[in-house]
């Protein structure tokens, strides 16, 4: 396939489109609420009313407002229906002929939507994830064609560097720098790995991208392959995401069929094949060295760095490993230019970030916001605040992050500000807590998670998390003394400073951040003195 054919295919797809597109979400969240039943009845209604000539029902990916699913949205009117059931689905189609639709109509101008800036999720909820033609119709794979025929690998790396994109997996390492390092490594065999082992409790950004727009990730990976000189990529997806895996498999097959993936991409000398590897349920495999071990068929244990994967990664070859969301940014950076991309965000954190807004909040779901927005805008304006209550804290960064108190809600969302206040960007989980929430319970919840997910290789993480968990349990049972809190805090710093990989290094963060901002809650739970003495 060449550029003319690609454009012709896009044009042909666009002209085939019917004047009214009814988008029905078929992502995991909405499927769980029977959106497939909804879609079936929508199709039936179109047939019954004989509107098949101008109305088409399209199964799409995530629209974001997951708390109110199943969602149905109609283009070009931009009408949104929430909590649609198979019974009420038909009325939506009838309403197009002047009837009344039964399901609740959502407000597409609500700040939850209006305040978003959709770069990665631009076509999410509009494009059919199971048809490559639909992606091509929206300009898909033109960025890949552009890099292959108009850019050298060096200029691609340069473009990504000057866009200011930083790793979306949580650490925020400059993506361009990583690409440049791997590109400059000697060796004929290099690999690209896409890390889709999303495992933070309450986070589902990557799943949504993979389910809603799999080709966007594949395009980003292929561009990366060209830039660094790799001909083989792996997507590592956790087994808990069967729909994402299914859609990726389909997407790879379709890409191969059109000559966009596989050998001689777009008839150029560049080959790029992509394989899927399915995780076996270990959170620690999201750590890059453990992930690589897992792809190689070994036990998913982290290994000491250096050497970094950029030097010796998969099968000891230089390896580029980026997160799903990072790759999903690439096509847009190439298409619209680094200058455009770097105009979004703050000085040191560019672009947008997707957050999974959950917890005690009115509007929960996925949002994509520009860096530099404040937590208050996200929680209060977009999220609509806590139903019948007040925000107490916001947890970001999952088990590696921390709890941010309501008093710091004016903090801007960027890598450095969040680290400064003891949390981190993380992969994008954002859990809102109300006044009823016990922060000690929250700390224990995350410690229980880490205790269960540590691989057990290094001493501080394997045994330290168990001991931290028992300190927190002791405190919650009202059996702890002030000395226990001191011991616990000292252990937190030890685990943080001495653990082998990122899991252990950040596991104490939920404890440390709650100790920093909510110490009184810990002190209230201490064993109360009787007759001036603390009972033994």
């Amino acid at each position: 396939m060449d550029l003319a054919e690609l454009q012709a295919l896009a044009e042909q797809e666009r002209s085939k489109r019917k004047s009214i597109r009814v988008h029905c979400c078929t992502s995991t969240g909405c499927q769980a609420a029977n959106s497939l039943g909804v879609k079936e009845n929508l199709d039936k209604a179109v047939e019954e009313t004989g509107m098949g000539d101008r109305v088409e029902v399209v199964g799409v990916g995530c629209m974001g407002f997951c708390g109110r699913g199943p969602l149905v949205q109609i283009d070009p009117m931009d009408t949104l229906y929430e909590e649609v059931t198979p019974e009420t689905a038909g009325s939506i189609i009838h309403a197009l002929n002047g009837g009344t639709a039964e399901p609740v109509q959502g407000d597409s101008q609500h700040p939850f939507f209006a305040r978003q800036m959709r770069v990665v999720r631009e076509h999410s909820g509009k494009v059919d994830p199971e048809r490559i033609e639909d992606y091509i119709a929206l300009g898909g794979y033109q960025a890949l064609h552009k890099v292959l025929y108009e850019m050298t690998p060096e200029t691609v790396v340069q473009e990504v560097s000057s866009s200011g994109l930083r790793g979306r997996g949580g650490g925020g390492y400059p993506t361009g720098l990583k690409w440049a390092t791997v590109a400059k490594m000697p060796g004929d065999q290099k690999y690209v790995i896409c890390n889709g082992d999303e495992g933070d409790p309450g986070a589902f950004m990557d799943r949504s991208i993979l389910e809603s727009d799999p080709h966007l990730v594949l395009e980003g990976m292929a561009i990366a392959g060209y830039a660094i000189g790799a001909t083989h990529g792996y997507i590592y997806v956790r087994a808990e995401y069967p729909l994402a895996i299914k859609r990726l498999q389909k997407a790879i097959q379709q890409g191969k069929k059109y000559g966009i993936l596989g050998s001689q991409v777009f008839n150029s000398p560049f080959d790029f094949k992509v394989d899927i590897r399915i995780g076996a349920g270990a959170f620690v495999c999201g750590e890059e060295t453990a992930l690589i071990q897992s792809i190689e068929g070994g036990r998913g244990n982290p290994i000491p760095r250096p050497p970094y994967p950029a030097e010796k990664g998969l099968w000891q070859c230089p390896t580029l490993i980026n997160n799903v969301e990072t790759f999903a940014n690439i096509a847009n950076i190439i298409k619209r230019g680094a200058e455009w991309y770097s105009s979004i965000g703050t000085e040191k954190s560019k672009g947008t970030k997707i957050f999974a807004l959950t917890g005690k909040i009115r509007n929960n779901g996925l949002i994509e916001v520009p860096m530099g927005i404040t937590l208050r805008e996200i929680v209060e304006e977009m999220g609509g605040g806590v139903p019948d209550g007040e925000v107490k804290a916001v947890q970001t960064g999952g088990p590696s992050g921390g709890c941010i108190p309501a008093s710091l809600l004016d903090t801007t969302v960027d890598y450095d500000s969040l680290i400064k206040i003891g949390s981190m960007m993380g992969s994008g989980g954002m859990v809102v807590m109300d006044k009823e929430t016990s922060m000690v319970e929250v700390a224990r919840f995350y410690m229980e998670f880490c205790r269960g997910e540590t691989c057990g290789k290094c001493v501080p993480c394997r045994t330290g998390t168990v001991q931290l968990y028992s300190f927190l349990t002791k405190i919650l049972k009202g059996q702890a003394t002030a000395e226990d809190i001191e011991k616990m805090e000292a252990l937190c710093y030890m685990v943080k400073d001495t653990s082998l990989c990122g899991l252990g290094m950040t596991a104490p963060n939920p404890v440390l951040s709650t100790l920093r901002y909510f110490k009184e809650e810990y002190l209230e739970l201490l064993k109360q003195p009787q007759n001036g003495k603390v009972p033994v």
Partner: protein, 238 residues
């Protein structure tokens, strides 16, 4: 090959490129405690006892896997490192069943030696009363999982020197244990050549010879010496 010069605890040292900080310290006679390190097999950096401070780097670095670099200024025994090491040893003692007085390895145990070295006299952490089982199905040897510190020296020596790969680690986190064969009793693992390298590699009394009783697991230095050189000399079996 070039030579790097650096200082450890202000002592100037010259050492070949590619060597580790631990090699350099050893050559200079500076003690750095280790448990998972075993000369002659690969390093994993798991016990975290050999962590050192290097000026200009804000992370602690494991001496066993960190290569020397020109001009490094290394400190091996700062108050912070001493405290962290003591805590690590206390954590190990709280995790397993390390009651020296009834252990086969008493007086001959690297964990015991390290505990003395870091000055640990009690553990500030809650004892976890391990119940991890004992496997004495092998005709000559036994493994008491409660005394295991998961250093994986047995795993590496069996895989890298003997080439049998009888051992590996099963499960994760607190549930981790050293597994034999396909999770079979040790005695039923056909791959085991009964060479006894794991017994000699074990730093504690976890893997022992049957019939040894308290304090009788004498360290056979000759055998350890063999482990050190076996790979280079191609002595794959005894």
């Amino acid at each position: 090959m070039s030579v790097k010069t650096l200082t450890i605890n202000d002592q100037p040292i010259a050492i070949e490129e590619g060597k580790t900080i631990l090699d350099a310290a050893k050559e200079a006679g500076i003690p750095i405690p280790t448990l998972c390190h075993l000369e002659g097999v690969s390093d994993v950096g798991a016990c975290r006892l050999c962590l050192v401070e290097v000026k200009g780097i804000n992370k602690l670095l494991p001496a066993c896997v960190t290569q020397v670099a020109e001009g490094m200024e290394i400190s091996t025994n700062t108050p912070k490192l001493q405290e962290y090491r003591r805590m690590a040893v206390e954590l190990i003692f709280a995790e397993g069943n390390h009651v020296c007085s009834v252990c086969v390895a008493n007086n001959n145990c690297e964990l015991q030696d390290v505990a003395v070295e870091v000055g640990m006299d009690h553990s500030r952490f809650v004892y976890r009363f391990p119940d991890r089982g004992v496997d004495v199905s092998h005709s000559q040897f036994g493994i008491d999982h409660n005394r295991c510190i998961l250093c994986t020296r047995c795993v590496r020596v069996c895989d890298e020197v003997e080439g049998a790969h009888v051992w590996d680690v099963a499960q994760r986190g607190a549930a981790c244990y050293i597994v034999s064969g396909m999770n079979q009793p040790w005695g039923e693992v056909e791959a085991c050549t009964s060479c006894g390298k794991c017994v000699d590699a074990c730093p504690t009394g976890a893997i022992f010879r049957k019939g040894t009783t308290t304090a009788e697991k004498a360290g056979d230095r000759e055998k350890l010496e063999f482990l050190v050189t076996a790979r280079e000399q191609g002595q794959w079996t005894r």
